[in-house]
């Protein structure tokens, strides 16, 4: 059921399409939700990152399935099987470089996508559930990437798995049993590798399901837009195809250039050389760092000189995003009309990137102190700045409609 004045595309009168649709209205859905679907006319390039994330999910699933045809989830064979993929399997190197760097690209895209939502207030009513579903996707992605990184069974795989699973040992009473349960033994070992492979294979499909729900929720009220105001009528919208299919395709082409640069010219720059050493449970590498996309959270973990406190704060850094729609008390969505918020938003971005830098350093001296300062600022953004800004900030006047500033140039 379309909630807009839906005029079917010409192909909808094709007899085969009609025959199918009478039994399963799949063409109708595509036509209504992807082709004729009315989108705000003013979406900018920050709105490309959602479809880019979708493309990356497909790339990860495809490259992953073909890797899995040659990968062996056994501690005795895993490392060598990845070497074999790299050297002997036809185009195995390409599959692996696509997958390895694809994970990084996926996170870049999703981080930008989340930041877009934070700047333009896309989490505000009526899009809270849409926002939550996005966060669930983010959590599932982190779990997937973490378990994927264990599979090549290098030193960083092993010790990353050890440190991260041990986070749960911080829980009082049940902590130790939970860790033993996660491991299926008394240390990270073959049972752990096996189950991580099973879950690494499963979770991307769970993500695909969550993406469906995410899009479903999106299409109930439609996309937010750079002005953050609701569409007032048909003049505020344009059909998704060809306007946004073309814009998304253009963005994808540019994105693929960046991705291809990493895959073909610099495949290891985002990785850690220690993972070329096969896992050794007797020796911890001198400096354990997670993949770059986990570094801000790792810095928060290490900022607290208490085990349980560090773990709680690290999980809290993500949990707090779930209540963001209620911590932000401003009724104006878009940062474009919030002069003070805009400053705090960029401070927040700098704080998060600084945390990422701290997470990669040894936890002593300046990086440790800087990490602690930024941890405080990270939480202050949500718990102090955003709630207060809503009260003290005077937003700039909102335009009457999306079309108005476009159609009446003087009003710009």
């Amino acid at each position: 059921m379309a909630k807009y004045d839906y005029v079917p595309s010409p192909f909808m009168s094709n007899p085969i399409v009609k025959w199918v649709d009478h039994r399963l209205p799949i063409f109708e859905m595509v036509d209504q939700q992807l082709i004729k679907y009315p989108a705000p006319r003013n979406l900018n390039y920050w709105w490309n990152f959602g479809s880019l994330a979708g493309v990356m999910l497909v790339v990860m699933i495809l490259s992953g399935i073909f890797l899995a045809m040659n990968y062996q989830p056994n501690t005795l064979a895993a490392f060598d099987s990845v070497e074999r993929i790299m050297r002997d399997v036809n185009y195995g190197w390409l599959l692996r470089y696509m997958h390895m760097n694809g994970a990084s690209m996926f996170f870049v895209v999703v981080y930008i996508h989340i930041a877009r939502g934070m700047y333009y207030g896309s989490y505000k009513a009526p899009r809270e559930i849409l926002w939550w579903l996005g966060l669930l996707i983010f959590l599932a992605m982190m779990a997937t990437a973490f378990m994927g990184y264990v599979l090549p069974w290098g030193q960083m795989s092993f010790w990353g798995a050890t440190v991260i699973t041990n986070l749960f040992s911080a829980l009082p009473l049940v902590g130790k049993s939970i860790v033993t349960w996660l491991w299926g033994g008394f240390s990270v070992d073959n049972p752990t590798l096996n189950r991580f492979f099973a879950l690494h294979y499963l979770l991307p499909f769970v993500i695909a399901g969550l993406v469906m729900l995410h899009l479903w929720a999106l299409h109930v009220h439609g996309s937010n837009n750079p002005l953050g105001i609701d569409a007032k009528g048909p003049q505020d919208k344009i059909p998704f195809h060809p306007y946004y299919t073309v814009k998304d395709a253009f963005g994808l082409s540019v994105f693929l250039i960046v991705y291809a640069y990493f895959v073909f010219f610099n495949p290891y720059v985002l990785g850690d050389a220690d993972n070329w050493i096969p896992a050794n449970p007797m020796v911890t590498p001198p400096h354990i760092v997670p993949e770059w996309y986990f570094l801000p959270f790792y810095a928060i973990l290490r900022a607290v000189p208490d085990k349980l406190g560090g773990v709680l704060l690290m999980f809290g850094a993500i949990a707090i995003l779930f209540v963001l729609p209620w911590l932000d008390t401003s009724r104006v969505r878009s940062g474009r009309f919030r002069p003070a918020f805009r400053v705090f938003f960029w401070v927040f971005i700098v704080v998060t990137i600084t945390l990422g830098w701290c997470g990669a350093q040894l936890p002593e001296g300046i990086p440790l102190i800087l990490g602690q300062v930024c941890t405080v600022l990270y939480f202050a953004h949500f718990l102090v700045f955003l709630p207060l800004l809503g009260w003290f900030e005077r937003p700039r006047p909102l335009p009457a409609s999306i079309a108005e500033p476009v159609l009446t140039p003087a009003a710009k």
């Binding site: 050890t162 041990n166 033993t180 049972p191 449970p281 001198p286 290490r302 085990k307 560090g310």
Partner: protein, 191 residues
């Protein structure tokens, strides 16, 4: 519908029978069916969950025997037990004295040195940092030993003293002393 003379049941508006107080008799069927279903689901679920706990072959992992005969004072060896490193250190008299003197220090996880070493010269420890499970450094003379002369975990900076007790850093507990017994003066069995 005719009522059986002996019954306390009446007919409910929906046609089903109900007790005099108005509760439909079907409620009993719904509740018991749901209870059976839920119990079955929980029990089956437990089988799934428990299948992820250590299996019998993992639990059956043997104990490890270690000969200490070749160790000289100030030397350490690392042996493997249940896939984890175990540190055995032949401590020097100074290290023992320091450990004993620190019994009265401000300890995060208070334990006397005597309680941690069956024979004071041989200290046996699980070489697993109680923070997040890295292997601390300090087994080799060239390793860093931390501010308290014992072990130092580089992962997040935990310092352990000459008794393996946590003194500084994020780790909450002392290095664990695994269960072990002396088979004779110079041989121990761990586990």
């Amino acid at each position: 519908m005719a009522q059986p003379a002996t019954s306390t049941l009446t007919t409910s508006p929906g046609g089903g029978r109900q007790h005099e107080d108005g509760t439909p008799r079907r409620d009993f069927l719904y509740l018991s069916a749901a209870a059976f279903g839920a119990t079955g689901a929980v029990l089956t679920g437990w089988a799934f969950v428990h299948s992820m706990n250590p299996s019998a072959d993992v639990l059956a992992l043997s104990s490890t025997e270690v000969s200490l005969a070749a160790l000289q004072p100030g030397q350490s060896i690392t042996v493997t037990w249940r896939g984890k490193p175990v540190f055995v250190r032949y401590r020097t008299p100074e290290e023992i004295a320091k450990a004993k003197a620190d019994d009265k220090a401000d300890l995060r996880d208070p334990e006397t040195d005597q309680a941690r070493a069956k024979k004071e010269q041989f200290l046996v420890l699980l070489g697993v940092c109680t923070h997040l499970g890295c292997v601390p450094l300090g087994q080799k003379p060239t390793d860093p030993h931390g501010e308290f002369g014992g072990w130092f975990c580089p992962c997040h900076g935990s310092h352990y003293d000459t008794s393996g007790r946590i003194r500084k850093g994020p780790a909450p507990k002392n290095l664990e002393v695994p269960a072990y017994t002396y088979l004779n003066d110079t041989t121990i069995r761990i586990g």
